[in-house]
């Protein structure tokens, strides 16, 4: 019989705490007027997601998340903010018009209702428990990447090279 995680109260409490922090930080990312603060709140969301990955037993992805997102992408964002000379402190000019805000909020709310209905309205969806036996080790992940998914993996390497060259060509000064 598979052991289910549902009985573990500590994990559930950890999930809810991390989720609450992430949602508040994500809301601040899209509402704050300060560009640098938005990048720092983004760090909170990304670290929270790494925490959720650890709860899901995906340590390797959690480590990758921390290294790539928090270590590289956020630094890249800070470089972007710096090089486009965003105002330090409050910047009145980061939000769209009120019409944009209302329509954006409306679309996001409708989307949330539809997805919530898809999750909670589907028969049997709400009582699917996550199963500890399904947790995969790093060796299984690497076996899978280098056998079943070898072609996409090579495609991703070529894509990264193309992105690297593209970014250099675009951003260099002549």
């Amino acid at each position: 019989m598979d052991a289910v995680w549902g009985d573990n109260t500590a994990q559930n409490i950890a999930f809810y705490i991390i989720a609450a922090v992430m949602i508040v930080a994500a809301l601040r990312v899209v509402t704050t007027k300060n560009v640098v603060h938005a990048a720092l709140y983004l760090v909170a969301v990304l670290v929270g997601i790494a925490g959720q990955f650890i709860l899901l037993g995906a340590e390797f992805i959690a480590a990758t998340q921390l290294l790539v997102y928090v270590g590289a992408i956020v630094v890249l964002f800070l470089f972007g903010i710096m090089l486009t000379r965003a105002q330090l402190g409050k910047d009145r000019d980061v939000d769209g018009s009120n019409a944009q805000k209302w329509s954006g909020g409306f679309v996001a709310l409708i989307l949330l209702v539809v997805m919530g209905y898809a999750i909670y309205g589907t028969d049997g969806m709400t009582d699917v428990e996550l199963v500890e036996e399904r947790v995969q080790t790093i060796s299984q992940v690497s076996d899978s990447i280098f056998s079943t998914y070898i072609v996409p993996f090579e495609a991703v390497s070529v894509l990264l090279l193309a992105a690297l060259i593209g970014a250099i060509v675009l951003a260099r000064r002549d």
Partner: protein
């Protein structure tokens, strides 16, 4: 832990990201919101990887691919934002109305 909790968390983050993409007009902020969307999808993929009757590694692998592609996307995206800033001294997306849309 219930699968539905993770799916709902990911939906909420996804919708917050969609709101950010639609409501912001600073190009760097829009890129940050796109990161929120991509990360929301990653939670979904990893959560589905540990649910269900069959052992399936695809969720983990696809999450890794998305992380790699997001890195490439941000690199090129910020380079383009930089180019726009250099040409127009502004990264206000409302100013980019050359196509008269």
């Amino acid at each position: 832990m219930l699968l539905a909790n993770f799916l709902m968390l990911s939906s909420i983050l996804f919708c917050i990201g969609v709101y950010g993409v639609l409501a912001r007009k600073n190009a760097v902020m829009v890129l940050m919101s796109i990161e929120l969307i991509l990360n929301a999808v990653n939670i979904n993929l990893v959560a589905f990887g540990v649910a269900g009757p069959a052992v399936d590694i695809s969720g983990h692998v696809f999450a890794l691919f998305i992380i790699a592609i997001a890195a490439a996307e941000v690199g090129v995206g910020l380079a383009m934002v930089l180019l726009i800033y250099r040409n127009r001294s502004s990264i206000d997306l409302d100013d980019l109305d050359l196509m008269k849309g």
